[in-house]
Amino acid sequence: MERFEIKLPAQPAGARRTALCGVVSSGNLEVLVERGGDDAACTIEVNTSAHGFREIWEAVLADFAKRHSAGGLRIAINDAGATPAVVSLRLDQAFETCRSDNP
């Protein structure tokens, strides 16, 4: 497993609740979104079975933080080799869920 953490500046998200999207299975991942401390930043912890793709992760996550106001979010990812398309989709789903009222 490869593990790293990224902190990105971001606009406050206004998250209401914790959200979990996705399942850890081959080519897939789970994304856990929680409220963190710093409203002006988004921290993302990645745990991935695919080694050597940190640069791609950083690009995907930077685009996510650009796409959404992800400030104040603490995101944790368990990944089993998902492609960037799937990663982006799960991030978007988790982000949307964490801002909704209903589970």
Binding site: G27, A50, F53, I56, V60, G81, T83, P84, A85, L89
Partner: protein, 553 residues
């Protein structure tokens, strides 16, 4: 006055040679009928050293019994063969090379045997004439690669030797016609010999011998894609294809590849495309095998006509029950024909869309990888502009206008699209700076790198990042940025010029899902008209009978 240079020359040497061969075989057959236990001896009797031999097989139907017989022949008698055949797919096709009985091969596709074949080529044990497309190879059967002996497969024969090929006619007519009319010998393996055939696909006087094989010929269900395995990303790319390509050009005549990406499109026709009001406006006429995933679209009334290269295992009853759509004989079963369907796909379709393993910065695509000599079968004929086409259609004309700009002579162009995810499994990028095909060409000493679709024929690329219209690119630089612009997070995509790409987006050359008003979060499997094989069976009214390996009930 013209004088023949050899007044006494005989003009019937082929016929005489044929007569000798038949004479040698006479004691081994009862008229046309050969007992299975005599087949090896028969092959030894009729095949001569140096013969061009065609063993019928495609990626579907296989003359497997005759292939097994061939590798039992005496290598000192059956030798120096020149194989001229569509595929080297069965282990026996390569075994006969390893046994030293073959000097040269001309073929189209070697899928499962690609690795073994590459090793034989590298060790110098075999010479490849060329790797053709199916249509090219059939064409050469009638020019300079006519078989002396053809070993074919049919469903049944009658006592006279007429053949019934059933729904899987495939390559048989092309092979038999070339062989039988140029003094060759045609030997057919059949699943059964009956008194009366449902219909005659090959007349008896084109066939020299029939043998009832102990087991029915093998047919691979190659075109069955289980909808359960279609991913959300494939649903998204299918939505982009339907809205950004099919609807845009009003594509009615088309051919699909066999991947999950195109299966997703087929399954989105009765749902997503219908909601967009596209029924009757797109996808009405097809050159396509009977894909099980097309059933819901057929049942929804989307499809008016389908002509097929071959059949598909389990689809026989469904196809027979939809004679308005498929090509059905008076006996009630389908007739396929690979040569005609290849011609139809090349000349009569406005769109080919399929997938690939690699795409380079010029839009060349290939499924070739180092250490495997596989060939492409029919894909290059589908995925190429038909330069000889002279009839117009709305989609063809628009593509021509977009691609040829201000050219004063009006002319259309075929739409050729590749639909890929930016990364395949295990994070293999689909976009590369250099195709593996170059390495393969070098290591195997090929004249040409094996390119499936040339960049100059490619008009659109669809990925989860959006659709790139290469027709509208005016310079090589624009074209490269358009490709990079839909290449996502692959190294090729990351190296894009962001400003140039935004420019292309403004001009509609690149269209993102949001530019097409598509919300990726709505790209769920719920949109599929069938979510699994059982749904397809239900959609067919119980007529589709899927192979065992695709069932979970």
């Amino acid at each position: 006055m013209y004088l023949a240079d050899s007044p006494g020359r005989a003009w019937d040497t082929r016929a005489r040679n044929r007569a000798h061969r038949l004479e040698r075989a006479a004691s081994l057959a009862n008229g046309r009928n050969v007992a299975p236990e005599n087949i090896v001896a028969l092959l030894e009797a009729v095949i001569e050293p140096g013969d061009r031999l065609c063993v019928e097989g495609n990626n579907q139907k296989q003359a497997d019994f005759l292939s097994r017989a061939l590798v039992q022949t005496d290598p000192s008698r059956v030798r120096d063969l020149h194989l001229v055949q569509s595929v080297l797919a069965l282990p026996e096709h390569v075994d006969v090379i390893e046994r030293g009985q073959v000097a040269r091969i001309d073929f189209s596709f070697s899928g499962p045997q690609a690795g073994r074949l590459a090793r034989l080529v590298e060790s110098g044990r075999i010479t490849i004439g060329a790797i053709h497309t199916y249509l090219e190879l059939f064409a050469r059967y009638f020019v300079d690669l006519t078989p002396q002996v053809a070993l074919v497969a049919a469903q049944a024969a009658d006592r006279h030797g007429n053949l019934y090929t059933g729904p899987n006619t495939e390559d048989t007519p092309a092979i038999v016609e070339a062989t039988a009319f140029k003094g060759g010998i045609v030997i057919a393996q059949v699943n059964e010999i009956v008194d009366t055939l449902p219909r005659v696909d090959i007349p008896a006087d084109w066939v020299d011998f029939t043998v009832a094989a102990p087991t029915p010929h093998y047919v691979e269900p190659l075109f069955t894609r289980d909808p359960a395995l279609i991913t959300e990303t494939q649903v998204l790319t299918a939505m982009i294809a339907i809205k950004g390509l099919y609807a845009e050009y009003g594509i009615t005549r088309l051919n699909h590849g066999i991947g999950f990406d195109t299966a997703a499109i087929e399954l989105l026709l009765p749902t997503y495309a219908a909601e967009l009001g596209l029924k009757g406006k797109i996808c009405t006429h097809w050159a396509l095998n009977p894909h099980p995933t097309l059933i819901p679209a057929i049942e929804a009334g989307f499809v008016q006509s389908v002509h097929s290269f071959g059949s598909e295992v389990g689809m026989e009853r469904y196809v027979a029950a939809r004679p308005d759509v498929f090509f059905i004989g008076p006996d009630g079963s389908m007739r396929s024909n690979r040569a005609f369907c290849q011609a139809a796909g090349h000349y009569a379709c406005d769109l080919f869309i399929g997938s690939t393993l690699q795409l380079d910065l010029n839009g060349n695509s290939s499924t070739a990888t180092k250490g495997r000599i596989a060939g492409f079968g029919g894909a290059p004929n589908m995925g190429a502009d038909a330069r000889g086409r002279r009839h117009a259609s709305q989609a063809w004309l628009r593509a021509g206008r977009e691609g040829r700009g201000d050219n004063p002579m009006p002319r259309g162009q075929k739409l050729v699209a590749q639909i890929v995810e930016t990364f395949r499994e295990h994070m293999e990028p689909a976009f590369v700076e250099r195709l593996d095909a170059w390495d393969l060409a070098e290591s195997a000493g090929m004249d040409l790198p094996p390119v499936m679709i040339y960049g100059e024929d490619l008009t659109h690329i669809i990925t989860e990042e959006g659709i790139a219209n290469l027709l509208l690119c005016r310079t090589p630089e624009e074209r490269e940025q358009a490709i990079r612009g839909v290449a996502g997070y692959t190294p090729v995509g990351m190296a894009r010029d962001r400003r140039a790409v935004e420019n292309l987006r403004d001009r509609g050359i690149i269209r993102r899902p949001e530019d097409l008003d598509i919300d990726p979060r709505l790209a769920t499997r719920d949109l599929l008209a069938a979510r699994n094989i059982k749904d397809l069976v239900h959609a067919s009214g119980g007529l589709y009978d899927p192979p065992k390996k695709f069932r979970n009930w």
